[in-house]
């Protein structure tokens, strides 16, 4: 039997705000335990939540970028359950009226080869809502400690429709989603810092069957590759169960990325009754069109739109755009360099090859790079004008990467300027021809390769600073 997988993802994304969702204490990662707290975070008796407007702005921005319908009112509900990482023992969330409904994420499926663009597809979204994050439990020997630094961080839950069909598609969806979030300045989506977390609902059915199979929720998928591997594993597991005549049990399973195995966490019967009800401490907030338009004005171009535009506007290939576009900053860097030199292909090559290689080797972030778009543009121009030769240009690039000097200054300091004196070139070529009558005869006799015999002496005379192209041209002219 051939099976088809039906996958829906629930992705939690922490919003990049200065303060927490319902109090003005700082939000952040990597601080000493329980220092990002205040009476509200700790749910001391008598404290009340006050909404963070920046968080609402950011989720509206996410909704607009993904084409969601934005609700006219932002309403808050309490989700009641007891857990030691939840200070109030209820989470403020949005139940029946999420702030964003519908929308979709454009994803690129893996292409036939790494340098060939894959098929694009839209993954429909059910909803996006806003809530607050919980704290973190640290289990020790006979004791569990709670760190409330994360508690109350603005958290967005993005729920996809069950339209994802494979582990690769899920991976592509997460990648695309992350890129949009970073483009919008909504979240850094660093999974290691828990800024993006993913649960998957997975079922399988025989190909051609309409009815859905029993779904299993997979948790603890804490890296992009674990998401892909975990889903692939679960699809195989379900198929094996069905093949052996078994039945899929509706349950929540815990995936262990280290061992590549999963185990049951709880069955459907043990599902919580969250007793949702509207939070009486928070008034519904009206989101009018002026508000939405103000947020819309801050929305950047979407990554795939940018990729299409770069290909069209600058006539650069997928191999370059696919490197430039996922990193908004790198894309901006490229566009600035391309604008300054007017040679997008050359600028793109320098950036995607040399710059990224050097940054990687030196472990330097793009923002901290001493080589700015103006450096790249100036270098491209020097090469284009024949002022320096390409092997010299490589040397110039590495030098300016370390010194931050403009390429002209590096060329002058290192004496790398290409020989452009036509008189000298003519003389050196004439001398070389005169010194080698045999090769002249060979060349005139139709032996093309004989030309090379003159080039060595010319280059030696020029101390390597002659442009090979011009040497070639001059020799041919003089011999014709």
């Amino acid at each position: 039997m051939t099976y088809e997988a039906v996958i829906g993802l629930e992705v939690h994304v922490q919003l990049k705000t200065h303060s927490k969702m319902f109090t003005r204490v700082q939000a952040g990662y990597g601080f000493p335990e329980n220092t990002l707290t205040d009476p509200v975070v700790l749910a001391l008796p008598g404290t009340l939540p006050v909404m963070n407007k920046d968080a609402l702005d950011k989720i509206i921005k996410a909704g607009l970028l993904l084409g969601c319908e934005i609700a006219p009112v932002c309403k808050w509900d309490r989700k009641n359950y007891f857990y030691p990482d939840s200070p109030k023992n209820y989470q403020i969330s949005q139940y029946d009226q999420p702030i964003c409904k519908g929308g979709s994420v454009e994803v690129e499926l893996p292409g036939p080869a790494r340098n060939v663009m894959g098929e694009h597809k839209r993954v429909a979204l059910t909803r996006i809502h806003l809530e607050e994050d919980v704290g973190k439990l640290n289990h020790g020997e006979g004791v569990s400690l709670v760190d409330f630094n994360r508690a109350g961080t603005p958290l967005m839950e993005i729920v996809s429709e069950p339209v994802i069909r494979s582990a690769d598609e899920a991976f592509a969806y997460l990648t695309a989603l992350k890129t949009v979030m970073i483009y919008g300045g909504i979240s850094d989506c660093d999974m290691e810092k828990g800024q993006l977390r993913c649960d998957a609902n997975i079922s399988i059915r025989p190909v051609g069957q309409e009815a859905l199979g029993t779904k299993v929720e997979l948790k603890n998928l804490n890296s992009f590759s674990f998401v892909r591997d975990g889903i692939a594993h679960e699809i195989r597991r379900q198929a094996a169960v069905l093949e052996s005549g078994g039945k899929i049990v509706q349950e929540t399973r815990d995936y262990d990325g280290q061992t590549g195995t999963s185990q049951s966490l709880r069955s459907k019967e043990m599902a919580h009754d969250y007793r949702y009800f509207p939070d009486p401490d928070l008034m519904p907030v009206e989101v009018d069109s002026a508000w939405k338009e103000a947020v819309r004005a801050t929305c950047p171009e979407l990554p795939f739109d940018r990729q299409r535009r770069l290909q069209e506007q600058y006539a650069i290939p997928y191999t370059i755009t696919s490197v430039l576009v996922p990193d908004r900053e790198l894309g901006d860097y490229f566009e600035e360099a391309a604008r300054l030199c007017g040679k997008p292909q050359a600028a793109g090559n320098w950036i995607t090859n040399d710059l990224l290689r050097e940054l990687g080797a030196a472990k330097v972030a793009l923002g901290a790079s001493k080589v700015r778009p103006a450096h790249v543009a100036a270098l491209v121009k020097l090469v284009e004008d024949g002022a320096i030769l390409s092997n010299a240009a490589k040397e110039v690039f590495i030098d300016m990467f370390h010194t931050g000097e403009m390429p002209e200054a590096v060329v002058a300091r290192k004496g790398l300027k290409a020989e452009t004196n036509t008189e000298d070139l003519e003389r050196w070529c004439a001398e070389a021809i005169a010194a080698n009558p045999k090769s002249v005869a060979d060349y005139k006799g139709g032996k093309e390769s004989a030309l090379n015999a003159f080039k060595g002496p010319v280059m030696r005379a020029a101390k390597g600073k002659a442009d090979p192209k011009r040497v070639d041209e001059t020799l041919r002219r003089l011999l014709s």
Binding site: P39, L42, A43, L44, P45, G46, T47, L48, P49, V50, M51, R78, N80, F82, Y83, P84, P87, K88, N89, Y90, S144, V146, D273, R275, Y276, F277, P280, D281, L282, M283
Partner: protein, 495 residues
């Protein structure tokens, strides 16, 4: 009882301190001495910090001296000891909610109301007893002891703000703060023969008030006169960025407003809801309230019968909404971060079960269970959602009546103070104590209870005046119209 500092009004004490006739330290000393003399019988306080109060009083005297030297104004509450219900946070003081759950809890921060009072120079005085987590109508549900009614020590002071009412009635505080979710200020004020005001929902910040039912709770003052209540209300009112349910609305000068209405000779149109004078109303209470209504008529007010047809659903709707909210609000008391923590728990779940079983009293448990039930999957629509619809209808009843009248007058409580233990075994009978006050909370309206007489046995009776949303000035002026024509408040309990 002769006039002493401890049973003098805020207005008069403020004048005396301004004139240098008495110092805040002397006033505080008088209140402390009185408290020590009668507290053994009244038991209004869970605790009080004498040294801290006297230090605050001396600091007040210094501030007054500095203000005098620089010619700056001094607020009427400068140096006035104001008792605080033990459910409102004062930084560095215990905050117990009269519950074993918080028996050893000290709050690290000030509630907005206490911050405001301190900012105006008032002295936050003591921690006043209440029904555990403000759930009850007699203060018998306190985990630490029952407060007595100063007029008859065998009787309850009402509740849940029984300590707040009894302390003012007994001269242990000049004024006090309570909280009112279904009548918890007005009913004890009535039973203790003083003035108690519940402001419109959203008028006073709830930040720092331990939440019982968030959509119903309001903090309000107890005082010996309408004028004093207005002074305290003015001090604690106003929008608070820490409470999203507090309204951005200007706070009027209530006492100036009352005086302006008095000068204008405004003849109020007052509504008397027929639904509030039915079965269960004690005849002596009914007669006293009727006499008060007659007094209004004599003063030229127009009395109209009005109807609040959904009144009979109020208690039911209230006990669904209030318990639903409390079941969630009290979830934070779990023994993990603060408060009572069971010593022999084996795991997290066991810690919850044991800490909460040991920490909460029976009435609190009853309400948490009820609230958990009405919010449960499958019951939400039938109970919570329906109760919210009833709530809307009840509010509409009031707003409809206000098309004809300025305010509504009713009894505050169906009976005067009852004996301790009399209703303790019957929660339902206890719930009916709030039958006249609950609708006001459901509708978010301001309401006040003022003394309107005594039973033959010498127990105080309260008149409730219910105002329009955010028209506290009118409400106070209506109450003042009655108050200025009688001298009920000059009586003082013999202790």
């Amino acid at each position: 009882m002769p006039q002493e500092l401890f049973n003098t009004s805020v207005t008069e004490l403020s004048r005396m301190m301004g004139a240098g006739e008495v110092s805040a330290a002397e006033l505080m000393g008088s209140v402390v001495a009185r408290t020590k003399a009668v507290e053994g019988r009244v038991r209004a306080f869970n605790s009080f910090d004498e040294a801290d109060a006297l230090a605050q009083a001396r600091a007040s005297d210094q501030r007054r001296a500095r203000a005098k030297a620089s010619g700056s104004p001094v607020h009427a509450l400068e140096g006035i000891p104001i008792g605080i219900k033990d459910v409102i946070s004062v930084a560095g003081q215990p905050l117990t909610a009269s519950s074993r759950m918080l028996a050893n809890f000290v709050s690290p921060y000030d509630a907005t109301v206490t911050r405001k009072l301190k900012g105006l120079g008032a002295i936050c005085w003591g921690r006043l007893n209440l029904d555990e987590f403000a759930m009850g109508s007699s203060t018998e549900n306190s985990a630490f002891g029952v407060t007595s009614n100063p007029w008859d020590l065998e009787r309850v002071p009402g509740g849940s703000s029984g300590g707040s009412a009894a302390s003012v009635a007994a001269g242990e505080a000049i004024a006090s703060l309570g909280s009112d979710t279904g009548g918890s200020i007005r009913q004890p004020a009535a039973l203790c023969g003083i003035v108690g005001l519940k402001p419109s929902y959203g008028r006073v910040s709830r930040y720092g008030l331990i939440a019982f039912a968030s959509s119903l709770d309001q903090i309000g003052p107890f005082a010996r006169s309408v004028e004093d209540a207005a002074t305290v209300l003015g001090a604690i009112s106003g929008h608070d960025p820490k409470d999203s349910t507090s309204l951005k609305m200007e706070v009027p000068d209530y006492n100036r407003g009352i005086a302006e209405f008095a000068r204008s000779g405004r003849k109020w149109k007052l509504g008397v809801p027929k639904e509030y004078f039915g079965e269960g109303l004690d005849p002596e209470v009914g007669a006293a309230v009727q006499a008060a209504i007659d007094e209004y008529r004599r003063q030229g007010c127009e009395i109209r019968e009005v109807s609040l047809p959904h009144t009979r659903y109020a208690v039911g709707a209230y006990y669904i909404i209030a318990t639903a909210e409390c079941s969630s609000n009290l979830a934070r008391f779990d023994g993990v971060r603060y408060g009572h923590r069971s010593k022999d728990a084996t795991d997290a779940l066991d810690l919850y079960f044991k800490s909460r079983a040991e920490g909460f009293g029976p009435e609190v448990k009853r309400r948490i269970i009820l609230g958990t039930y009405v919010l449960s999957s499958g019951y939400y629509d039938a109970y919570y959602l329906r109760a919210q619809k009833v709530r809307t209808l009840i509010r509409r009843d009031f707003l409809e009546a206000y098309k004809q009248v300025d305010a509504i007058v009713t009894p505050t409580s169906p009976t005067p103070a009852f004996r301790k233990g009399e209703k303790a075994a019957n929660p339902l009978a206890m719930y009916l104590n709030d039958i006249y006050t609950i609708g006001v909370n459901l509708a978010g309206l301001p309401g006040i209870s003022i003394p309107c007489g005594f039973t033959a046995g010498g127990l105080p009776i309260g008149l409730q005046v219910i105002g329009q949303p955010f028209k506290e000035t009118e409400l106070l002026a209506v109450a003042r119209t009655y108050e200025e024509r009688n001298d009920w408040r000059s009586r003082f309990p013999k202790l």
